[in-house]
Subunit: 430 residues, 2 copies
């Protein structure tokens, strides 16, 4: 008789479960998720390079002095900080703008204007919720050292090209500038120390009713007359001279159809100094997917040199998650593997190995089933579970006739074909 | 009169320098370094996919329970550990094998055998020295759940293909197995508890003289007769049955010419259970660049399920660093940008923008100089510094004649050509 303490068993099971879990707010990327993410990253990298941008990468860890006190106390609380083995106070990268400032300061010889993109994770100990994680893959594109509207326009062209290439059927790039917003404040005689606060409220117009926004402005101490004047001013607003130039050049660069001047766009952050832009995807309803603008004083404020800059963040995680969850890319398989070459038995695996090697030499992504003892049914099920489209079977009959069986697991179609016809057949069908 | 305290000035400058430094043992990747690294990663990813492997990624942070106590106390000291904002004890990924064990445990439904590759940084607070950093990009390829020699052979084929594709002119893959080494110990009647220690000494034969190795074995307590017997046994050793099968299949998969059976290869780590392999690049002299083998009990020991596995690590950092430092890839430019379209003046930047947009539409990586006020000489110097090969100049004369000037910055050659000939000209020359 063995007496088992059920609590002890449960406890030991729970222990094991915890041990093997991912941390809250973090996630693993499984093969089918990686297929989508690699495709998104590959397409974006190709676009950035097409526009003449150079990629850089910076270290995960930076001195705390570099990271802290740059975006306020709330942001500082989200940074993962610790003391390393050499008693250095370090922290994990929180965004890609602070590293850019440090990078520019570190390499004064970089040719300027400096056009860089950076595709790396950042870490924020934020409250995790659906679609929000603590390890976020960011994608930033910026031009440093150019005060010209040409640079703002280049960024708009990249955003347009990116969203087209990611195949979102319906999107627009909202553009505005801080000058337009400031003018409306000036016209309504709002006190200068209230401008940023009032603008933050106006920024909510795309999510809230006009009445609610008016109420919030009123609560912030603005007179009804002032509120009315602000709205009149915004309705009649036109792009300022600089923004008008940006839009004109962006049209020449092919982004014209997507641009929409929106005098109520403010963006949350206070550090923009000129044009601001945000892109909104309507179909599927996923909201804004890029945000950026001109920030001529930020790099200096972050401890870098005093250089003008303009750029955007592209929400790589959000785009990839939506594309995957809604299966927007119909033709993308769950795996990059196209063909599984099965292994019939111990005597014939050499034949299978030769066929697999030949397919690979011809650039066809091919898995050779790695167990000569598994029966064919098991191998079929395996291919199906993995999402591999094609199966090649080489049994004793086929070897004798110098043929193979080619089966499509999506359609169920199956053909016996000459070995030398295998590669042309696959090439014509994939 | 203003009195400046020079010490204070120096101190404040030094403060600034520290603030903006990268941490010891960490590094930024500048554009020309990224060009090489992206090329290496792109080539390797393509090979892994060609062999039917799926990519996964795991989080940077894991519970300390997952990370600690797996490779001994010395390794534990190198792991970056801290307590996060939720009082969880966490640490940064130390290698890609522990995450693999956790991953396999977390997703029991994954089709097996599971063929995964993973290309992510790991962090080790190791003593930094030339070529050794604290943030290391690793690249692991493994097959989990297959006890078959076919799997070992697939890994060998991948290593062969990888080193060929990275264009190392002279390399070999040393193969051996633990069984061969154990037999030599048995033949020489070495006590079993001394086997691993003796094997670690024998592993040094590729770096040290035979006499030195003999001396070390003697110091470890082996009799002269035993040492003699070990060497006789190793000289006469042949691959055991399993390894012979692996080699036979690897030959069918195209890796035959690179394999070299070497009975003295032991590899440092104790967790290999069957074949072990290491690849050595002779030209340039950079030593071993891959290491791996079969590790049938390791995943369980790391807290994962009891599954056999075989795989290799490819030294991505070392390969990329050497390729860059020695300029091994002659045809690779310092930037991915092919063309700089210059801007003549404020009136003509629209023409330049249209040409740039057209080049990009045709897949040519093109930078539009982002400042309409810079003189041409400055733009030429900029292109040269960045390493851009082609310059396009569109001045008033050219606009009138519907022509452009195309200049090659490498050769100095310069032509005035019709605008519609620009793309064919660049396509034929790049």
């Amino acid at each position: 008789l063995i007496i088992l303490d059920i609590n002890e068993i449960i406890q030991s099971l729970q222990m094991d479960m915890t041990k093997m879990q991912t941390l809250k707010g973090f996630r693993d990327f499984l093969p089918e998720t990686m297929v989508v993410r690699n495709e998104v990253i590959g397409k974006l990298r190709q676009i950035f390079e097409k526009y003449g941008f150079d990629e850089i990468q910076t270290p995960t860890l930076e001195y705390q002095e570099v990271l802290l006190g740059k975006y306020g106390e709330e942001a500082d609380k989200l940074i993962y900080l610790f003391e390393d083995q050499g008693q250095r106070n370090v922290g994990m990268r929180y965004d890609l703008t602070i590293p850019l400032a440090r990078f520019i300061a570190n390499y004064p010889d970089l040719p300027k204007p400096f056009r860089r993109f950076q595709l790396q994770p950042v870490w924020r100990s934020d409250k995790p919720q659906k679609g929000r994680y603590r390890e976020i893959y960011q994608c930033d594109v910026d031009i440093v050292g150019s005060p010209s509207p040409l640079s703002d326009a280049e960024i708009l062209a990249i955003i347009n090209d990116s969203l087209k290439t990611l195949e979102f059927p319906s999107f627009r790039i909202r553009v505005n500038s801080r000058q337009v917003l400031f003018s409306s404040m000036e016209n309504a005689k709002v006190e200068k120390n209230m401008w940023l606060s009032a603008i933050q409220t106006i920024d909510k117009l795309d999510k809230k009713e006009k009445e609610e926004v008016e109420k919030e402005l009123s609560e912030k101490g603005l007179a009804n007359e002032q509120i009315k004047d602000i709205f009149t001013s915004l309705i009649n607003a036109k792009p300022d001279q600089y923004l008008a130039q940006v839009i004109e050049i962006a049209e020449k660069l092919g982004a014209g159809d997507s641009l929409k001047f929106d005098s109520t766009l403010a963006r949350g952050l206070d550090y923009y100094t000129g044009p601001i832009f945000e892109s909104v995807v309507d179909k599927p309803k996923i909201g804004s997917i890029t945000g950026g603008g001109r920030y001529d004083h930020l790099l200096k404020a972050l401890g870098g040199p005093d250089l003008p800059a303009v750029g955007t963040t592209i929400g790589l995680d959000r785009a990839a998650d939506v594309i995957e969850e809604l299966h927007l890319w119909k033709n993308l398989n769950r795996t990059t593997t196209s063909v599984l070459v099965t292994v019939f038995n111990n005597n014939l695996f050499g034949e299978s190995a030769l066929v697999a090697a030949n397919l690979r030499e011809n650039g066809i992504n091919t898995e050779l089933y790695p167990d000569e003892k598994a029966d064919l049914r098991k191998q079929f099920k395996y291919a199906d579970k993995k999402g591999v489209e094609w199966l090649v079977v080489i049994g004793p009959d086929e070897v004798e006739k110098n043929m193979v069986v080619l089966k499509n697991l999506k359609t169920g179609e199956q053909d016996e074909i000459k070995l030398e016809k295998l590669i042309p057949a696959l090439n014509s069908k994939t």
